[in-house]
């Protein structure tokens, strides 16, 4: 059933403490925001509570034509190990793949009581199946179908809910895995089956096995959740079939695709993706020149890069110590949030994080019994935050408690004042964020000089100016609603599906026809899935990439083929692809070797289907702009350097009109965020109501 009077689009982002909802009215182009408490036991309840709030305010649920959802349901299930009971089928004789993992240890290398993360499928639920293919996909040993049958029965009887299948070289020849799935479905019809040639048909057996296991582990959780949420939406009268789920790659997938299976792992790193996607889309002009996004919350800061208008991506990831090699936006997370605790370590040095005071007891200034000083305590002591206007005044902050904590834990032991300690904590945190950005930029071969910093999350804009100064960045863009930015991002995405096929071979031996054949296979599969999801093939855009490397290298580089061919691949296109690889290698790794042979490792296809998106409205300045002074609601002393107080004006963000310009030192407050404008910086409200901070010459 479709919406009768399609008018609204709803984006819902579920976070750890709050669920944010953004309802876009397509007739007026404006949006409304709701914030409700998250319901971790059953997150769908929080979502439905939020939807009910809109309905209470007179929105007809039947008029909602589009629903996009960001959820950490799978991420949380993994962190808390609440996934399904999983059985595993592997090629006979290779039990050690799962046991050895990468062989190298993670974590503290001096701790010889080291333990690996508990296996998703224990050895007792791992069945060895006689079968084997070689590196070209030739069958060396046929599939023992009876062994599969016996294994399926054994796992079913052991109470397994979900089965992962990962055979050696199945990415070259998926037949044995597909046959295995068919047999399991006969023997144990109710069980979910994840096969590695579908989840991640990519070379490197451990990464593929790990990713497939995670898919098997979390698929029942996701499918149950979606079924529950769908029913809740139906019951609430939200009839749209356009229901989408955020993925790690910055795109969405329809609920139907999630239920179909095999894609669950694509949601695991989706938490921070919507914010980065929102940045790329809503700050399009700046994104073209380059953006660094800084999402600073309670326990950590997420940093992502957007270059040439698109977020950078990675294809290898780790979550909760587990390998998951699916495309995801390239993010780095550091333990620098408002709740990060400052302490003196064994060597007598002042450190900040990784411990966090979290939401409970929270920073000392929350007055909930926290006695250890945090970044927020440092912020409030320096005067950056307004004790009477936290969350719009809903929560009073206790400055004296913040000071006391700083005094006892940091200032006295180091022989300095509480104020100096506070400024020091800030300096350490700001520099760490800046250093992290710098390492990340160097890794990616990114030149920051033309980049804009885009802060969001509760604390992002409090620290952005200091981070930008440390990096020599001259421009900061604070979006209109930093607190609801991720939810808004859900209304700014396309459906994106990624397909991959590995085949390691010298580049020189790959004919254009051979490459074309592989891409055609991937496209056929993509089309079939698209149809099954009820979407139109005419709306689909395909883009191709090759994963290439110099012979002897272990890590490949994604090389896009866009613009290199029309219709089918030909010899000049392949030559140009090789040249593009050298160029990208030089850009990212600092050098290239155009005389060295190259290998193709994988073929990638990305399918993009455009879905309706939020269009930000550009406005001119008001006819009779209010004086900037009217937005000023006071002044307070701020200790930028921890020694000398500066008088900073306080502004109410909502009362600053388009075109208004203010000068630092000043502070701009709004319900969900505080923006600090350092001395030497100005801030201007642009025609999209963003606050643009620039360093004055």
């Amino acid at each position: 059933m479709q919406a009768k009077n399609p008018r609204y689009r709803l984006g819902v982002d579920v976070g750890g403490t709050h669920t944010d909802l953004v309802l876009l009215d397509t007739r007026t182009g404006t949006f409304a925001v709701e914030k409700v408490s998250s319901t971790p036991k059953n997150p769908a309840l929080g979502v439905l509570n939020g939807v009910a709030k809109f309905i209470e305010k007179g929105i007809a649920p039947g008029d909602i034509e589009f629903f996009a959802h960001g959820t950490t349901i799978t991420t949380n299930a993994l962190l808390e190990m609440r996934g399904a009971k999983v059985g595993l089928l592997i090629t006979k004789g290779y039990r050690a793949v799962q046991e050895v993992q990468a062989q190298a240890r993670d974590g503290n290398l001096f701790d010889y009581f080291y333990e690996k993360p508990a296996p998703i499928a224990p050895q007792s639920l791992t069945c060895e199946i006689p079968e084997r293919a070689d590196y070209q996909g030739n069958v060396l040993a046929p599939l023992d179908r009876e062994a599969v049958r016996a294994a399926a029965r054994k796992l079913r009887d052991a109470g397994v809910e979900s089965i992962a299948v990962s055979y050696l070289f199945s990415f070259m020849n998926p037949q044995h895995e597909e046959d295995t799935r068919a047999i399991i479905r006969e023997e144990a019809p109710g069980l979910q089956v994840s096969i590695s040639s579908e989840v991640l048909p990519r070379i490197r057996e451990w990464a593929r096995l790990s990713t497939t296991l995670l898919n098997a582990y979390l698929e029942p959780v996701l499918v149950r959740y979606i079924a529950h949420l769908s029913k809740g939406l139906d019951d609430a009268g939200v009839h749209t079939q356009q229901r989408f789920l955020m993925q790690s790659n910055g795109g969405v997938m329809p609920f139907t695709a999630a239920i179909e299976g095999g894609r669950t792992v694509h949601t695991l790193l989706s938490g921070p993706a919507a914010g980065a996607q929102a940045s790329a889309y809503l700050a399009a002009a700046d994104a073209g020149r380059g953006l660094v996004t800084l999402d600073m919350g309670g326990t950590s800061a997420d940093i992502a890069f957007i270059e040439g208008g698109v977020p950078l991506e990675v294809t290898e990831g780790v979550i909760a110590r587990r390998q998951i090699d699916v495309p995801a936006l390239d993010m780095t997370t550091i333990s620098a949030g408002g709740g990060s605790i400052a302490s003196i370590d064994g060597g007598g040095f002042l450190t900040v994080g990784p411990q966090s005071a979290g939401a409970d007891p929270g920073p000392a200034c929350y007055g909930r019994g926290g006695t250890r000083p945090t970044v927020t305590d440092a912020d409030i002591t320096c005067g950056y935050l307004n004790p009477d206007y936290f969350l719009g005044g809903a929560q009073k902050l206790d400055v004296a408690a913040a000071r006391a904590a700083l005094d006892t834990e940091v200032a006295k032991p180091l022989g300095m004042s509480a104020l100096q300690a506070a400024a020091g904590i800030r300096r350490i945190v700001d520099m760490r964020m800046a250093d992290e950005v710098r390492v990340f930029a160097a890794k990616r071969g990114v030149d920051l000089s033309t980049f804009t910093l885009l802060p969001f999350g509760g604390a992002g804009a409090v620290h952005a100016a200091a981070v930008a100064e440390e990096l020599g960045m001259k421009r900061i863009l604070v979006p209109m609603r930093p607190g609801a930015f991720s939810a808004l991002g859900l209304l700014c995405t396309d459906v994106v599906h990624d397909y991959i096929r590995s085949e390691l071979r010298p580049f020189a031996d790959v004919s254009p026809d051979h490459a074309e054949e592989i891409f055609a296979l991937l496209e056929t599969r993509a089309r079939q899935e698209l149809l099954a999801e009820g979407m139109k093939i005419e709306d689909a855009q395909f883009s191709r990439e090759l994963d290439l490397r110099y012979t002897g290298q272990g890590y490949e580089l994604r090389t896009p083929l866009d613009g290199l061919f029309v219709g089918a691949l030909d010899a000049p296109a392949m030559e140009a692809a090789r040249a593009r690889f050298d160029q990208r290698h030089a850009q990212i790794h600092g050098h290239a070797a155009s005389d060295r042979p190259v290998e193709v490792v994988s073929y990638r296809l990305r399918l993009r289907v455009s879905v309706p998106k939020y269009q930000p409205v550009e406005e001119g300045p008001p006819l009779h702009p209010r004086a900037v002074a009217e937005a000023q609601k006071g002044a307070r002393q701020v200790y930028f350097d921890g020694v000398t107080p500066l008088d900073a004006k306080l502004y109410e963000r909502e009362r600053l009109d388009i075109g208004a310009i203010i000068h630092g030192p000043c502070i701009v407050e709004q319900f969900d965020a505080t923006t600090v404008v350092n001395p030497g910086w100005s801030a201007r409200v642009d025609s999209f109501r963003n606050l643009v901070l620039e360093r004055e010459a």
Partner: protein, 552 residues
Amino acid sequence: MDAITIQILRNKIASLVDEMHYHFYRSGYSTIIRESRDFSCVIVDATGRLIVSPPMFFHAPVYRHLVGRILEIYGADGIVPGDVFVSNHPYEGGLPHVSDMAFVAPVFANGKIVAFSGSIAHKADIGGTVPGSTSANATEMFHEGLLIPPIRIRAGGVPLPDVERLILANSRQPVLVRGDVTAQIAVTEMGAQRVGELCERFGADIMCEAFAAILKGAADELRGAIAKLPEGSSSAEGLLDSDGVVMDKPIKLAVTISVHEGLATFDFSNSDPQAKGPVNLRPSMVEACVFYALIGSLGPRFAFNDGMRDAVRIICKPGTITHANAPAPVSNYQMVNLKLVDVILQAMAHFHPSRAIAGAGSSSALLINWSRGRPGGSNMQYEIIGSAYGGGMGHDGTSATAAHLSNLHITPIEILESEYPCRITRFDMAPDSGGAGRWRGGLSMQREYELLEDASVIRRFDKSRFPPNGVDGGREGGPGRFVINPGTESEQVVRASARFEMKAGDRFLLQSAGGGGYGDPHERDPQALARDVEEGRVTQGAAQAIYGQKIQ
């Protein structure tokens, strides 16, 4: 000097070291760099003292020796901005073995050296008697490859191509080596340049003061932990299977640790005289073992730097295995390191019993030199195989992992078979290879190879004759094994490192050693033992015979 500036500069150096590593690991060409990450990048002070430790920890103590030697040879006045030094010399430069090549670049401020940037990375081949250079049977360092004492490869910013040509001319893998050398010089220079920028910004004096404070902080922290130990002394010793040359003679490693007035002394004088085969250690490696064991036992979260040398005294007697005289060969140092760590931890248990642990299974190497590689591919296959940890107080040992000082990645089967004419026909766990105990040792892995072309195979391993020790009633771990053509008439069980000429169709099985057990096996928790049997880690027979429990 305030605590905040020190912390800021420490973070800056740490993030710079990260940046260097990332750069190098992404740009290194050879298999070892790319899959195993056998390299390190560091920043040291003007005298060569390391500030922040690299992930490849056992390289950390090397830089002090190397930079110290460069300063001795050239004098601080003889070094100019833009110089880059190279060395792989175990005796002149303190390098672990000839295959590890180091590059060092000075950082100048106000006309004075304030720091050095450095890097060490394993090279695919640097000459010597065998492909891959690391011979299991060398009897002099001259067999182990081209020896480069500390010399310039760039002078005042000008490349000296003669030196690079000389190095490449001595390698069987000049293309790989050239790629790695280029990347390594680039990353070393980048580090030096960035430290220079920090000096300009914060002031060179502040920078040097911060270095001193960071070094002192680590020394104070370690001293504080040592001060809490009981006074007294404790000795331990262990045996290496052989030196790879004199096959029937085990090699003794021995330590006496004494704690007196807050100072810990590690005396290795009772170790055997230096060996004929390549199992000799440089003092830099002994230091790595001492600091690793000390930090692991007293405070795994301590951050190593060269300041810690002030809290510890290490005695290595010249002419012994722990301080050989040139030209004794050293290329097989890693398995000696790993044995030495076991011995030190055994003696440490007396001082700090809650961190006691049984012997680990060492790490081992496999090198296959193919007569004919895949078209367009390399013909040199090199793998590092992990083993397992021993059981410890309150902990079962972890199975199938890189242990202690070694932390290399395994090369995926699918990459190996795609790149080289080999087939890995089996990769599983060896039941009962974890030493029995109240806390069981970790299980070892076994891997069977089939050759599809003729090849020369070098296998380097230890803990076959003398498997990892158990502790406090725990049993030994399973021994390391190398079996050629297992299950056939020509089956050959090999007990020591060696090189073999093999034909297409030949097979071999390698099994690493399992970890030793901790405590009486009869005291093992029956539920844990039942799980072991269910998962195939302990056989029913062993459960009954060794643990004294009947498991259905």
